[in-house]
């Protein structure tokens, strides 16, 4: 009987060990975590902030926050991916709500060159991330435009349902229905419960 060798997932035990090391003050561990997550977190941040310089500044803030808050991460309960992406999204949305940012938004947003996954440092991470991202993006494209719009508004602009109703000039009930339809479809497409 062949026993399969376990290749632990990058984002579970290894990442939890990295967070534990970061909380012990290990800079090398922070560098490894940075390499692993920079593309994902920066992509979220730039999608929300849309300005490269501001996004890069925020990335520093986020990683310094990781450095400071690593000791509060509960390795027995929390998920590193969810912890990091939630932190990046929330900080980016907070930044867009700041007065200084809104003033700067008057300026024209810079065009941001897109990179491909192959440009990332670790080819394996790139393959895995790109492949999963392709699946998720394909699922998102299968959601009808109206529900898709509200999902993306909620996630990348941090809009509540009431704010979306106001922004899109639609009844609140319509927004609620679209959010429900969109998320239901999205979870089904990603293999969730029907």
């Amino acid at each position: 009987m062949v026993v399969l060798a376990v290749l632990k997932r990058l984002d579970t035990s290894i990442e939890k060990a990295l967070i534990a090391r970061i909380s012990d003050g290990d800079q090398q561990a922070l560098a490894v975590l940075y390499d692993q997550y920079v593309a994902l977190l920066y992509s979220v941040v730039i999608a929300i902030i849309k300005k490269r310089e501001e996004a890069e500044d925020l990335m520093q803030e986020i990683f310094l926050l990781i450095w400071k808050k690593a000791s509060t991460f509960d390795t027995s309960r929390d998920n590193v991916y969810a912890w990091l992406t939630t932190m990046a999204r929330n900080r980016a949305i907070d930044r867009t709500r700041s007065k200084a940012f809104r003033t700067a938004q008057q300026e024209v947003a810079e065009p941001i060159p897109e990179i491909t996954a192959s440009a990332m440092e670790n080819p394996l991470d790139a393959v895995i991330m790109q492949e999963r991202a392709d699946q998720v993006q394909e699922a998102m494209q299968q959601i009808p435009a109206a529900p898709r719009e509200v999902i993306l508004l909620a996630y990348f602009e941090g809009c509540s349902q009431s704010q979306m109703a106001e922004q899109l000039n639609l009844p609140l009930g319509t927004i609620k229905t679209r959010v429900r339809q969109g998320m239901k479809k999205f979870s089904e497409l990603l293999g969730g419960v029907r």
Binding site: D24, Q27, A31, I115, I151, R180, G191
Partner: protein
């Protein structure tokens, strides 16, 4: 008043997107606390879907100086340079009044406490170092395994078979990336529940309707994704394989499948 299915889903969808107003947020959390299994599954599926939203963003990377700045900021301040002046202790003694016996005695007691504290600290440090050495060993092990993954991914010809979750665990999925030339493959799995202590998952290659074991493995913790290396996938011709399947079986595996099937993927 009981919440109907539609209202639950409506609140759930907005909750996982953090798009609920305060009152609805509280209302949903109360409903979730009392939800039955079916509603919890709805919540889990929507929450999992929301966690995938970061992957819908276009991929970008910041300039390289961002990393440098971060690492520079977290670098500990350089140790203060030792003074060449030996008189610092003399000056300290004078400053804190060690010249008097009573103060000197108090200082001695404090020093004892400090020494005990430092000893305890040294023991803790030793334990921390051992811990870090263990983590380092684990990381080195992971590196070796990652190289094995690369070995498959860089093969000139690779085959891939997608596996989907079945009724017993519909959110699971898997993939076999396979180098027919070397007979090695990578099995990537996600959302499989941990195996009980007396059970293992078993991978089957189904050829001409007959399942042939390709190995057993255990999932010991709930993870989003896991990778396993299959060292001996002898079949080199994808055309001869009908499907791959994963079942749960008694620990160590069985000659023929007996347990529930968790994943199935057709080769063609």
């Amino acid at each position: 008043m009981a919440m109907d299915k539609e209202q639950f889903e409506e609140l759930c969808a907005a909750y996982v997107l953090e798009a609920l107003d305060e009152d609805d947020h509280r209302l949903f959390e109360a409903a979730l606390a009392e939800a039955d299994q079916a509603r919890r599954q709805v919540y889990t599926a929507m929450r999992t879907a929301a966690l995938h939203l970061p992957l819908t963003a276009e991929v970008h990377e910041p300039a390289s100086h961002v990393k440098d700045k971060i690492l520079q900021t977290v670098r500990p301040a350089a140790s203060p340079q030792k003074s060449e002046e030996g008189s610092i202790w003399d000056r300290l003694a004078v400053t804190i009044g060690l010249a008097t016996p009573r103060v000197a005695l108090s200082f001695s007691v404090v020093l004892d406490v400090v020494i005990v504290g430092l000893s305890y600290y040294a023991v803790s440090m030793r334990s921390a170092i051992q811990n870090q050495q263990q983590q380092l060993a684990e990381l080195q092990g992971e590196l070796v395994q990652k190289q094995a993954l690369l070995e498959v991914l860089t093969a000139p010809v690779i085959e891939m078979v997608m596996m989907n979750g079945l009724e017993v665990n519909p959110t699971g999925y898997g993939k076999i990336i396979w180098d027919p030339g070397q007979g090695i493959a990578i099995l990537q799995l996600a959302n499989l529940p941990p195996t009980p202590a007396d059970k293992d998952y078993q991978l089957w290659v189904i050829r001409a309707g007959t399942p042939i074991s390709a190995g057993v493995f255990a999932v010991r913790e709930t993870t989003e994704e896991s990778f396993f290396k299959i060292d001996d996938l002898a079949e080199t011709d994808k055309q001869l394989i009908d499907a791959f399947a994963i079942t749960i079986e008694p620990s160590g595996g069985v000659p023929q499948p007996t347990g529930d099937m968790y994943l199935l993927g057709h080769a063609l």
